[in-house]
């Protein structure tokens, strides 16, 4: 009887616990699949994507936050939004931007073109999409040309970078009046042409060439009329790194330079160099080394120029990267050593420059303005006193320069390029101390 009663008791307990047990086990089972298991290092927004994909607010926030540093994750999320509404031009445009940033230009173009076909596209988004398609078309060419052409007028307070007219040289006489600080206007023209041939192999090997030209004709001070042409060319060899986020290439190149000064042949240079390109995260690094054999020719205004002939070796690092909100930076650090025919003209120079191009546009206008503050410093250490200037003091000169450029969009590829630049040289030799303010403006065609 007691045994039967005990069995009945356990049956009742088991019967009561059965549904509870099922409930608990089911809950455990469900909890094993819940988003809380995904916590780990996952962000709350991404946990939301997994647990509540239909939470549009969460998805939009995640897409925007991921765009900054996780391009692929942002692509996945914007493609998710495109599933929910395939007619949104903004989503298609953003996908184009993201694929562009990955270097997947064909995919980017596909999304930009599809954005153009959407009914809700705004005029400024249309303009941006068309601009980017044009850039992509250029990037996908086997032979790519980029550059600019500019012309304009400039005013300089001291185009010859001379000292004051009353500066007394060591010999007791004043400086040659042709080189004393005197303001003048000039007309100038400038161009740059960059050419890249893509061999379309898996290493990304290319052949690159560039030409930079500059010509300025003074209105009065023709001893400072200058024409300059520099050519560089060489193959760039890609080096596989095994890391898709890191590129590495090496480029040997030849460089040739020629210049006219005071409308007479003045300078010719021929040499070569070696440069590397790599990136650390978003920062591009281009260290380089270059040796140029320089040849200067004496002329009426510059009878001692041939003493500058010799070898110029430069070593430096160019770097660039983004900062934020359309703001980027480019910099150049360099060291140069000139070993010239005339000993006192030989020098060492240390230089540093930085550019901070800031792209912005006004609301409702897709055109891009570019404001570029610049700053730089060079320190020149000559090897010996120059008897013609000061036979007892070895020149030591520091140049500071600051500038502000503004590119104002005019129409499609044409901008009004303006520049204000101030230079000041401080030297232990009075004749090398100077300052100069330059203001220039002119239309620029960029391609």
């Amino acid at each position: 009887m007691q045994i039967e009663a005990r069995r009945a008791f356990w049956r009742r307990i088991a019967g009561a616990l059965a549904p509870i047990g099922l409930l608990v086990l089911s809950a455990l089972s469900a909890s094993a699949q819940s988003a809380s298991d995904f916590a780990g290092n996952l962000s709350p927004l991404f946990q939301g994507i997994l647990a509540r994909p239909s939470d549009l607010n969460n998805t939009l926030q995640y897409a925007a936050s991921a765009s900054a540093d996780d391009i692929e994750s942002a692509i996945g999320t914007y493609e998710q939004l495109l599933f929910y509404n395939p007619t949104l031009s903004r989503v298609r445009f953003e996908l184009g931007v993201l694929y562009y940033r990955l270097g997947s230009y064909e995919m980017a173009r596909g999304y930009f073109q599809s954005a153009l076909q959407m009914r809700d596209i705004t005029p400024d988004l249309r303009e941006r999409a068309e601009d980017l398609i044009e850039i992509i078309d250029k990037k996908l060419q086997v032979d790519q040309f980029t550059g600019y052409v500019q012309t304009g007028v400039a005013y300089q307070t001291n185009p010859g970078a001379g000292s004051g007219p009353q500066t007394v040289l060591a010999a007791g006489h004043t400086v040659n009046s042709n080189f004393a600080a005197t303001p003048d206007w000039n007309w100038f023209g400038a161009f740059a042409l960059n050419y890249v041939h893509d061999f379309e192999n898996q290493n990304g090997d290319t052949f690159e060439a560039s030409a930079v030209g500059y010509d300025a004709q003074e209105f009065r001070l023709h001893q400072f009329d200058i024409g300059l042409l520099e050519l560089r060319a060489g193959p760039r060899f890609g080096i596989p790194t095994g890391n898709p986020n890191m590129s590495l290439s090496i480029k040997p190149y030849l460089v040739a330079t020629g210049a006219l000064l005071a409308d007479a042949p003045y300078y010719g240079g021929l040499g070569g160099g070696l440069t590397l390109h790599t990136n650390v995260g978003n920062v591009a690094l281009d260290p380089y080394a270059e040796i140029v054999q320089q040849s200067f020719r004496n002329s009426t205004f510059y009878p001692l120029a041939s003493g500058l002939s010799g070898t110029l070796s430069t070593y430096g690092l160019q770097a660039s990267g983004p900062v934020s909100s359309g703001l980027g930076w480019q910099s150049r650090l360099g060291y140069g050593h000139a070993s010239d025919n005339y000993g006192p003209y030989s020098y060492d120079v240390y230089a540093a420059d930085i550019w901070l191009p800031w792209n912005f546009s006004f609301p409702g206008d897709g055109r891009i303005w570019t404001l570029t503050p610049t700053a730089g410093v060079s320190r020149w250490l000559y090897s010996a006193p120059d008897p013609n200037i000061n036979p007892t003091i070895t020149p030591l000169t520091t140049e500071w320069r600051v500038g502000l450029g503004l590119d104002i969009p005019i129409w499609k590829h044409i901008v009004l390029g303006t520049l204000v630049q101030y230079r000041a040289d401080q030297s232990n030799v009075a004749a090398f101390t100077m300052h100069d303010l330059l203001v220039s403006a002119g239309p620029t065609y960029k391609f």
């Binding site: 998710q80 929910y84 903004r90 230009y105 300059l228 409308d263 900062v323 550019w355």
Partner: protein, 270 residues
């Protein structure tokens, strides 16, 4: 005796209830257009719906109108085109260490894989009857049909291997075709815009909404950041226009310094 029967029923019920959980959840169906179906291991085929949990060994099949996007724990996504059959063969991922591996079989159709943590570690791979595809840090589109497989590299390093050999794509916008398992993959070719235009559809058709309605507009600023343009935007490369000016300044400064101590010659025109 009856008590044992009740406990047995209880355990059996619990086992059945937890059967789908025997496979660990590895991701979520973040968008689904009908008709798309899934077959979890040991379970019947059923229509897939948005928000459904995806477990490993799960088979997913889309019909001519069906498309699916899956999001995985490591932040990778898989967009599946119509008429496609895949199986998530293996998926192991530890969010804390960021390690694991993923293997997906594509037996028919097309998919786009956008890589996450696993692919960045080189641990994402796909199997087709024509080739095995390993992905490092990448985004790829893979199609497989009667004419073999085609693999497009959108980003990253993609290794294609089969019984005849191995090729590796290092550059975005390049592709390779593979006829079958015994034919060497290749050659590697540049992707053309027509290749992109003719890709299968990896998103909704007009009128479809991926299972989530209500997205009529998005209020994001350009390049993915709220409020202002960001440096994520690909702008026209900035070209410093003072390069020639600076070189000219240096030449003139040097000329002036050496000319300062000379005697003034006659000026032009004087």
């Amino acid at each position: 005796m009856r008590a044992y029967k009740i406990i047995a029923v209880l355990l059996a019920g619990a086992t059945l209830t937890s059967a789908p959980a025997l496979g660990q959840q590895v991701g979520t169906a973040t968008a689904v257009n009908p008709l798309s179906e899934s077959t979890p291991p040991g379970a019947a085929t059923a229509p897939l719906t948005v928000g459904a949990r995806i477990i490993h060994k799960e088979r997913i099949h889309t019909t001519p109108t069906g498309t699916v996007q899956l999001a995985f724990l490591d932040k990778s996504t898989l967009s599946i085109a119509p008429n496609t059959s895949i199986v998530i063969d293996e998926y192991v991922y530890d969010p804390n260490s960021g390690r694991g591996h993923m293997l997906t079989s594509l037996t028919q159709g097309a998919l786009r894989f956008v890589g996450g943590s696993l692919s960045h570690e080189g641990e994402a791979s796909f199997a087709t009857p024509a080739a095995a595809i390993g992905i490092r840090g990448g985004t790829v589109t893979i199609t497989f049909g009667p004419n073999g497989a085609e693999i497009i590299d959108h980003f990253g390093i993609v290794t294609i291997h089969n019984g005849a050999g191995t090729v590796t794509i290092y550059r975005p916008d390049f592709k390779v075709r593979v006829l079958n398992w015994t034919t060497l993959p290749g050659p590697i070719e540049r992707v053309l815009s027509s290749d992109i235009e003719h890709l299968p559809r990896f998103t909704s058709l007009p009128g479809q909404n991926g299972g989530v309605s209500g997205l009529h507009s998005v209020s994001i600023a350009e390049c993915g950041v709220f409020g202002t343009r960001s440096n994520n935007c690909p702008d026209t490369p900035w070209v410093p226009t003072d390069t020639g000016l600076n070189d000219a300044n240096q030449i003139i400064t040097q000329g002036t310094q050496q000319g300062t101590g000379t005697t003034a010659p006659h000026r032009h025109g004087s």
